[in-house]
């Protein structure tokens, strides 16, 4: 039986035809994957199914009924739930308040009822945190489980997950995939968006591939080859995985001594010109504080940070909160860092913008990284992967001597991932020191000359002989601390 049938959906945003006749069918008890390049229209398609985007034309059937969705409430009523690509929880509110939000009459609950309502859900979905915890204090994986639990608690039987694994580490991904299989056994249908092909082959029954807002193919997953999937998606052959750069290591460009700010304790590190130094680890072991210290927005309890060789550039790990100003255009986001400290980007003369120059360099960045957008599009309207590319483009603009990249390929499709990794490698080959802070082991192994693992605020160097998935995976779980 078909639970969801999307046919010939079209949606235009200004000059962008986000959906151009896309469609999809999900059977009962099926885990269906949706694959496509950045900007292919995946998010738009699922937002149409969730009633947030109203398609210009095309039809949506749920359980055989033709439906007009006026908003998420309609979708939820029909059993469709969506966990967004960028979380929709309110960080200032507690877990319990977030669970009550959007629930009919949820805001009228008294504090006691609020707690017990939340406690029930947390219990049922086996989430081990307290209902009065502020959501801002949860780790990424916890937030995501909370979002899924919130959807399921509303009786969702068709669960849509938009790039849920982009922010997770391997062990968390495994347990998410397990959850999906469990849901399938219970008769739920799942629509699963991911750029990671191995995840799709691990749990999905069928996969639909989208390109430029159109369907390219729908295939049974068992028996399909990874390479074939990738090629369906990008329409050409996939580049082979790369190797760490082989360059002469130069002088120190960035030096940190005894960095201490909770949870970091006495972190020492030296970054040298021409090398890629990777800090692997599971999110929540001090990655964010370390990024904040390196970005200069966090005060240290003790220790020192010395930028021996400016300029420094940062690819922030949270593109929507700290990486980009979503309300500004792509062009202005690109030059923001240089305009920041009274410095003048080359697109400005006497402090005033030269519009033609600004447009030209924005177009150049668009070209270079294959960003699907116009130069002055507000960044808010771009797809997640395209936003990520802007963060990368901005950091590469100034030929930094020290480059800090926090999960630089998060949310990028396979081709863009390969391309960004090439760009990063090229930076090291040019003589920049690259500090890669990443939760993605493949990325670490593909780029790093030197690796350390961040665990509970401490840095554990990994000997070159131990540069293997297994050993690093162990260390990430505390293998060296024990």
């Amino acid at each position: 039986m078909l639970r969801v049938e999307l046919t010939e959906l079209r949606k235009r945003f200004g000059s962008v035809q986000a959906l151009d006749g896309a469609g999809l069918e999900i059977a009962a008890g099926e885990v269906h994957a949706l694959l496509g390049e950045n900007g292919a229209g995946k998010t738009t398609l699922v937002r149409a199914l969730y009633g947030v985007v109203r398609p210009d034309s095309g039809s949506i059937r749920i359980d055989g009924e033709l439906v007009q969705l006026r908003g998420p409430r309609d979708a939820l009523e029909l059993g469709v739930g969506l966990v967004h690509q960028h979380f929709m929880l309110v960080p200032e509110l507690s877990v319990a308040e977030n669970l009550a939000l959007g629930e009919r009459g949820g805001l009228l609950l008294g504090p006691r009822a609020l707690r017990s309502h939340a406690a029930g859900i947390l219990e049922r979905y086996d989430l081990g945190f307290r209902p009065d915890l502020r959501v801002g204090e949860l780790s990424v994986a916890q937030k995501q489980r909370l979002e899924i639990a919130r959807a399921l608690s509303r009786g969702v039987e068709i669960l849509v997950l938009d790039e849920p694994t982009a922010v997770l580490v391997p062990s968390e991904i495994d347990s998410l995939l397990e959850l999906l299989s469990r849901l399938r056994e219970q008769g739920c249908s799942v629509l699963f968006i991911s750029h990671k092909l191995d995840e799709i082959t691990a749990v999905c029954d069928r996969v639909t591939v989208l390109r430029n807002g159109r369907n390219v193919a729908t295939r049974e997953v068992p028996g399909i080859e990874l390479r074939e999937l990738g090629e369906l998606m990008v329409g050409s052959e996939l580049p082979p995985p790369g190797q760490p750069p082989r360059t002469q290591v130069g002088p120190v460009v960035l030096r940190a001594r005894g960095l201490t700010t909770p949870p970091l304790v006495g972190v020492d590190l030296e970054l040298r010109a021409g090398e890629v130094f990777a800090i692997a680890g599971i999110d929540g072991n001090g990655q964010t504080p370390l990024e904040e210290v390196l970005a200069g927005v966090r005060v240290l309890e003790s220790g020192s940070l010395e930028l021996v060789q400016p300029p420094l550039a940062l690819i922030s790990g949270d593109r929507q909160r700290t990486g980009l100003v979503l309300g500004l255009g792509l062009d202005e986001n690109l030059v923001l860092e240089e305009a920041a400290r009274g410095g003048a980007p080359p697109e400005y003369r006497f402090g005033l913008v030269r519009p033609r120059e600004l447009r030209r360099s924005a177009s150049a960045a668009i070209e270079r990284l294959g960003i699907r957008a116009a130069p002055d599009d507000p960044v808010r309207t771009l797809s997640g992967g395209n936003q990520q590319k802007i963060c990368v483009a901005r950091a590469l603009r100034r030929d930094p001597c020290a480059l800090i990249a926090v999960n630089p390929t998060r949310g990028l499709d396979v081709r863009a991932t390969a391309q960004v990794r090439d760009e990063l490698r090229a930076q090291a080959e040019r003589g920049a020191g690259l500090l890669l802070i990443s939760t993605d082991l493949d990325e670490v192994l593909e780029l790093a000359n030197r690796i350390a693992v961040l665990f509970r605020g401490q840095l554990y160097p990994v000997a070159p002989a131990e540069h293997t998935r297994e050993r690093i995976g162990e260390l990430m779980l505390g293998g060296a601390a024990a």
């Binding site: 309300g327 003048a344 005033l352 913008v353």
Partner: protein
Amino acid sequence: MRRAELVAPVAAILAALALSALLLLLLGANPVDALGALVKGAFGDRLALENTLVRMAPLLLIGAGISIAFRCGVWNIGGEGQLYAGALVATWVATRLLPGAEAVLLVPLVLLAGAAAGALWGGIAAGLRVGRGVSEVLSTILLNFIAVLGVAWAVHGPLQELSGAYPQSDTFPAAARLPMLPGSLRVHAGVLLAMVLPVAIWILLFRSAAGLRLRAVGLSPEASRYAGIYPLRETVRVLLISGGLAGLAGAVEVSGVTGRLFENLSPGYGFTGIAVALLARLHPLGVLPAALLFAALASGSGAMQRIAGVPAVTVQVIEAFVIFFSVGFALPRRNG
């Protein structure tokens, strides 16, 4: 301003008009006649037009200043106080410090003094924010009272006219008065200045690197900090600028219109300026038509009372409708 952005302000004005017509009906007046009288009173003859333009000047200056402040996420509610501070210091310069100076020197000095005083008044709020973390909403509101009372004290004390007859300052020497613009309309040069400055503010906000910083901070303080901007520094800057513009409005008022300082100098320009900025969707160029509208409402109210027999205070209700709907329809989504 993109075309789509015009929809909300126009809708706000139309809604306010509709509700005003209803109100006029309830008052027993013919809305068409009454509003016609209002328009006539604002634009009908030379005198009416002059009156409207002169009232527009302070609204333009304050509205442009508020726009840039709000764009930076700085809620400066202190336009009124900054205007009074500017008027006070401008009067001191004109009547006490340099009453004998030449016009070429004195007029610019009076205006600069007013702007500087307004900037200082905004700067106090900035200092409190930086030093003590006091919200500028609170401090600017409170500073309004201090400035208004300060002017009251001054015209009863140190700046009172030498004859001591009334609580007001001496009249400005002719050399301290803003000259009239050439042409048949008798309006002071401050009107032209007030029409030019919003354009300058627009360039600052949308064409300069400094303006990019201001807007970035207003849209996302977090991402701005990561990019290397110091949000507090921008807060200080923008309070100085918008305070300076309001102070300049005060100087223009005493030097161009009244020729002396007294209590109740401003009919609430500092507050109407906020409405102007909101109706303009915080766009410095949108401030031009928005200020014209509010000035016309104020200057047409007398004629409406005379011709259509509707109490002049009705206009305040109409103004309130416009403000209400501009906030409802026209407030730009801060992050959109």
